[in-house]
């Protein structure tokens, strides 16, 4: 008799649930007294209203800029296009502190824009602190991300449909309606929810550019509870509120937009027939230059760090670089394994067991992960492992784990559709051949998964590489990542060196994003 093992995806889902529940219960248990959630009621309401408004606006603007940018990039071929695509991937993983400085270097009171206006004869002070600052920074970070996602989605339109469009003589409007809109409609709601959650959780950017304490997100309240009040119970409750809001949002969106079945051809390299349309040509040039004007200057301002690169290249830096790479590599491994397991469990439920509703639970998990405040969960997990592991080694385990978990929502989308493709194409064949487990993965999925896996790995690595979240809890002379080093220098007036380190972080992230782009664009 054969013992049937549960699917690895179910195990992963259970493990994630256990981690989350365990972490939060640990936080709740350490506090004997009742958490004082009611005491901050009005404050909480205000924070929630602000978080929601700013996240919704940021998301909307990111989409309004990102989607047209994706169309312009899809329609046009130009020298340096591949470079631009990689840059789009890299912007998203810029560390927040670097973003704040980059945005202000351009749009700040003494920034490039202010200097330009002054040179043109405009006098008077202007300030972007408040909504403008938050929105600019968020759009700078995430419009490129949306553009990248949309571009990937547009590329999934089967080549046959492009030929039909050509043969039937579709106008640009009909191309949009029958080819582009269906994929947008399928991709955008999910992407919008993802972005909304990212913005909802935004912390350092909102504080630095918000201009007032009312411009704070729930994450600030959680940080406050954890670090200042040491009220772990309240931190856990606030974290649960955040998870609940995000779950509700994800579920609502899932309900409103049932995702049409994923298409199952491979990406086409076909030149879009609407590229020839004159009005679209003008529009695209406009969009491309507008995006260039908005996104390129902050990116370029980072080059100011170049002058001090030489002074930061020392043994400390080398060690931090190695540490960052090792941690990011481990985190990427974890993120890939988890995403793959979840995606294959979802596929099994869809294709073999015909339970698409149950499969959605697996699709939901990555978003839940995104909603969990990393500080709170890490603290909770730390409380659990504390009796068994030395604090210093706990960091080494928790750091890659948490960074890996944080990357799952971003890379899950690399695998899901591809696994479905493999399943729909070869599922029956491999079933008739009796392929199971490892061999099924090796023969049926590997050829199609190889490149997305590489792309997902690189992006997960880049995300972890620029992260300054968990490391703040565990870092030290023996465990220093590059962002940690950056903060350390910033803490002792060495602004120039911090800028140089920031530049180097962005360069590495850029290289990883470039790699990811190359891998995901290559033909299978």
């Amino acid at each position: 008799m054969r013992l049937t093992l549960p699917h690895p995806g179910s195990l992963v889902a259970l493990a994630i649930a256990a981690l989350v529940i365990g972490g939060f219960s640990a936080l709740l248990m350490i506090d004997g007294e009742k958490p004082s959630l009611l005491a901050i009621g009005p404050y909480l309401t205000r924070v929630l209203i602000f978080s929601t408004t700013q996240a919704a606006l940021s998301t909307l603007l990111s989409i309004l800029l990102g989607v047209p940018l994706a169309f312009a990039l899809a329609r046009r071929r130009f020298i340096g296009r591949e470079f631009v695509l990689s840059a789009l991937g890299a912007v998203m993983v810029t560390p927040t502190i670097v973003t704040v400085f980059a945005v202000l270097a351009v749009y700040g009171r003494s920034g490039w824009l202010a200097s330009l206006l002054k040179a043109l004869g405009f006098s008077g002070d202007f300030s972007i602190f408040g909504y403008p600052g938050i929105l600019i920074a968020h759009v700078f970070l995430n419009a490129p991300f949306i553009a990248r996602l949309t571009l990937d989605a547009l590329d999934t339109v089967p080549a046959e449909q492009w030929r039909l469009a050509q043969s039937l003589g579709f106008s640009p409007r009909q191309i949009f309606r029958h080819l582009d809109w269906p994929v947008l409609h399928a991709e955008l709601p999910g992407a919008a929810v993802l972005l909304f959650l990212v913005h909802f959780k935004s912390f350092a950017i909102v504080l630095a550019l918000g201009g007032g304490p009312s411009r704070a997100t729930l994450e600030v309240a959680i940080y406050e509870a954890l670090h200042v009040d040491l009220d772990f119970g309240r931190a856990a409750w606030l974290a649960l509120i955040q998870v609940a809001i995000c779950l509700a949002l994800t579920l609502t969106v899932n309900r409103l937009w049932t995702r049409p079945p994923v298409s199952h051809t491979l990406r086409s390299t076909i030149l879009r027939p609407d590229a020839a349309d004159r009005r679209l040509y003008i529009l695209d040039i406009g969009i491309l230059s507008a995006s260039l004007l908005l996104i390129a200057p902050p990116f370029l301002s980072l080059l100011a760090g170049l002058s001090h690169v030489a002074s930061v290249l020392d043994a400390d830096f080398a060690k931090a670089l190695v540490t960052s790479v090792v941690i990011a590599g481990l985190a990427a491994c974890i993120a890939c394994i988890l995403s793959l397991a979840l995606a294959s469990a979802a596929r099994r439920l869809r294709l073999e067991m015909r339970l698409p509703r149950a499969a959605e639970i697996y699709d939901l998990l990555p978003n839940v992960l995104l909603a969990i405040p990393p500080f709170a969960l890490t603290a909770g997990l730390f409380l659990i492992v504390r009796p068994f592991i030395e604090p210093s080694s706990a960091g080494l385990i928790l750091l890659p784990l948490m960074n890996g978990l944080a990357a799952v929502p971003f890379i899950y989308r690399f695998f899901g559709p591809k696994l479905m493709t493999a399943g729909e194409r070869y599922g029956r064949l491999s079933a008739s051949l009796g392929l199971r487990g490892f061999w099924k993965l090796r023969i049926m999925d590997w050829p199609i998964l190889r490149r997305p896996l590489g792309a997902g790995f690189a992006i997960a690595m880049a995300l972890s590489f620029g992260d300054f979240g968990i490391i703040a809890l565990f870092g030290g002379p023996e465990l220093r990542t590059l962002p940690y080093l950056l903060y350390e220098r910033l803490g002792v007036y060495r602004l120039d060196e911090a800028a140089a380190i920031g530049l180097l972080i962005v360069i590495v992230s850029f290289a990883l994003a470039y790699l990811s782009g190359r891998l995901s664009n290559a033909a299978d």
Binding site: A39, Y43, R46, I97, V100, F101, L104, A105, G108, S110, S127, F129, A204, L207, A208, G210, G211, G212, P213, S214, A216, V220, Y223, E224, L226, H227, V228, L230, F232, D316, L330, A379, F382, R386, P387, P391, S392, S393, L396, I397, P400, L401, A472, L473, G475, G476, P477, E478, L479, Y484, L485, Y487, E488, R489, L490, G491, V492, Y493, R494, L495
Partner: protein
Amino acid sequence: MFKRFLTTLAALVLATGFAHAQTKPVLTIYTYSSFAGKYGPAKTIKERFEAICNCEVNWVTAEDAGSLVGKLRLEGQSTKADVVLGLDMNQAAEAKSLKLFAPHDTQVSGLSLPIQWQDDTFVPYDWGYYAFVYNADKLPNPPKSLKELVENPNGPKVMLQDPRTSAPGLGLLLWMRKVYGDKADDAWAQLKPRIVTFTKGWSEAYGLFLKGEADMVMSYTTSPAYHETVEKKTNYKAASFSEGHYLHVELVGMTNTTKQAELAKKFMAFVLTEPFQSAIPETNWMMPAKNPPSGPPAVFKDVIQPTKSLLFTPEEVLQNRRAFIDGWLNATSR
């Protein structure tokens, strides 16, 4: 299997990290990151203490002073810390309530601190005054008092830190309370139009100030000394306020869970000796708690000398912080 892989890997990384001899007893000191960074005093202090203790000093860092207490609370009785260095006076009561600290049994006298020191748990190792720093080239006539800064509607724009997440942020909150008392919230409302933003920590605020985003930044009286000594720039100055300045004292304490009690005590005594104290000024940019016989450090000769120190006791801070923050939130969110 996966977990085993991780632990093995973690052990490997650890092994390379601590490859050097483990034969001597190890004294683990928790501190904040910039203290142990490239330009911080930790390296010098480690060398100097190891020269006399026949032990090894191991620094473990948290992001900032705020995270130090959080880290201790998380680790609880299982903490590996023998000594905790870098707590802010405003956190002292909270830190004590963790019941992790042991009495220091150190002779604390002859300090350069502007206040009497009586605490038997913590020893101050350096101090300074909070102050608003400005660029004299751009702001030739800085306000002469906190009231002038707050009440002049055409006054300079200021960059502040969030009191919920940062020590100087909390410092200003308390400073305002000392000057305005119960009217502090109204004062906040008055100042609000000229507050550029409240950042998460000192680093962001100071960086943004240097980038020209504000006319003044909440920092320390000793900040100009850095620009003068390292960058040879004399245009950054701290504004002297007539009401007095809020005092910032940094503390060190030993834990009661330590297995190296003797060593820890030895270190606590070492803190107020010349080898430790002389490492502080040009690395941590704070006043040493005990001046050498030759007087205050030369780098601080131009530092402004407030006429009056303002200070709440740690217990008062613990009691009122929430209420102060709520008041501030209300006043600045209006």
